[in-house]
Symmetry: C2
Subunit: 247 residues, 2 copies
DNA sequence: CGAAGGATTGACATTTGTCAACACCGGTGG
DNA sequence: CCACCGGTGTTGACAAATGTCAATCCTTCG
């Protein structure tokens, strides 16, 4: 791994580990989400061997910050996060929200430094996956190698869609797309697709969708008037899935 | 590689190869751009062995289209491309422009299908890098493995910046950022940082930056009035780099 | 040389942001 | 228990940025 050439913006030494011994991947309910499906029992054991710790992150705390040295990627085990990129003088943009079963930290591979802040939206737990060891395993297990490529490629595709959203959709369409996207992801993880709890504020949603919090609020109100969703603060119920998709 | 489950939107069978035998990577002037720097002569030979073809693409033609089966990634050898993602009913967004020395096609790894159209902006030539063989090499050559991860991660970071641009900047700032970004990339490839030729139309720039072509045109005019750039059609000369950065 | 696409500019419309007032909600301390 | 507080959310009036439409000019390419 090459040494990073960039001067860290933030102090890099953060006492990493409020870390604990992890339960085995082989016993993890979310395995299907963060591992390739076709791993043999033997191969799974190899993975268990490198994912040896979890870490708890309190609401509002950072899992990592831009400029931190990159050593590991993370799988969200419980809770949720936002990733935030900063610019000089406080320009700030939320690039994504991650819920249980989703990956964090792939942006750091290129420069050996994390490129954004990952902030917990609620008290959360992540699995720590040391990247150097993962690379080593990938050189031996083809399905695992392919899975990492897939994860990274999927992130590229996800970001393409988000660029399309930011570049071509109206505020109304963005909010509708956001709600449907969350719904789909909750459903994929066994939660209700119709009713869920937003862990993020209107401001964070706005910052993700490229609009002001007031605009987000207005769109929620509009959808309520049109009987597309019922929103009660952070609790959202989708009443008309097709209607939302048609917006 | 898993079979793709998605129904292709476009006909998938395109006669791939107006392909020709490639000159050796080891003799390529752009090697530093698309290969890890620290490859030994021996390792380079391994690469030469898999990159065995180039392909010419005429202006306006597609290198690949969304839905095409994914087999290879590409390095732009000469010319330039745009990548375009589509949505139902003609919503269209340019996700990036690629010039000589840059990579194309990494979005296809995840689903085994390309996820966007790659269209040549001028008559161009690419090196074809069969991905399955590249994966195999990466399992043996650690620097090569790491280089692929770096390329994909860099693409993720690039897209994050683009999301920030689309989500938080004014039209004026976006156009300024776009010009500076192009300038930096041309410079990195040995061309003039101050004067260059835009291969894309105002409409394509607008589609990339999330605004209408008229707005792009107005911003160019504004920069000219302010003596930040001199634009003559598609020829751009940057007069005040710092001024542009301050916008 | 002429047609067609691309670029520029102006007038006007629409969307979204800004600012301000106020309601709501959960938690804390009297 | 209640009052109060800060953070969050909602709504309205108005302002600013950007889009839309149309006229015109310029370039390129067959």
């Amino acid at each position: 791994m090459r040494a990073a050439r960039v001067v860290p913006i933030h102090p890099v030494s953060r006492a990493e580990p409020p870390a604990r011994r992890a339960p085995r991947c082989s016993a993890c309910a979310m395995r299907a989400l963060c591992m390739p499906a076709e791993l043999s029992a033997d191969e799974l054991t190899r993975l268990d061997a490198i994912i040896c710790a979890t870490r708890s992150v309190k609401r509002g705390d950072a899992l990592y910050r831009a400029g931190d040295a990159f050593h590991s990627i993370y799988a969200v085990r419980a809770g949720s996060f936002k990733t935030v990129v900063m610019h000089r003088e406080g320009r700030e943009h939320v690039t994504g929200f991650q819920i249980a079963g989703e990956a964090l930290g792939l942006d750091g591979v290129g420069t050996c430094q994390h490129n954004c802040d990952a902030i917990a939206l609620e008290d959360s737990v992540v699995c720590i996956i040391p990247f150097a060891q993962l690379e080593a395993v990938c050189r031996e297990l083809k399905p695992m190698q392919h899975h990492i490529y897939q994860m990274m490629s999927s992130e590229i595709v996800r970001e393409s869609s988000q660029m399309m959203l930011l570049g071509t959709m109206t505020a109304e369409q963005r909010v509708a797309t956001f709600l449907l996207n969350l719904s789909r992801r909750f459903k994929a993880r066994g939660f209700s697709a119709a009713e869920f709890h937003l862990r993020m504020t209107r401001e964070e949603i706005g910052c993700y969708l490229g609009m002001k919090l007031e605009t987000v609020s207005r769109m929620f109100s509009k959808f309520q008037r049109e009987r597309l969703v019922a929103a009660n603060g952070k609790t959202i119920r989708i009443l008309d899935h097709e209607g939302l998709a048609r917006v």
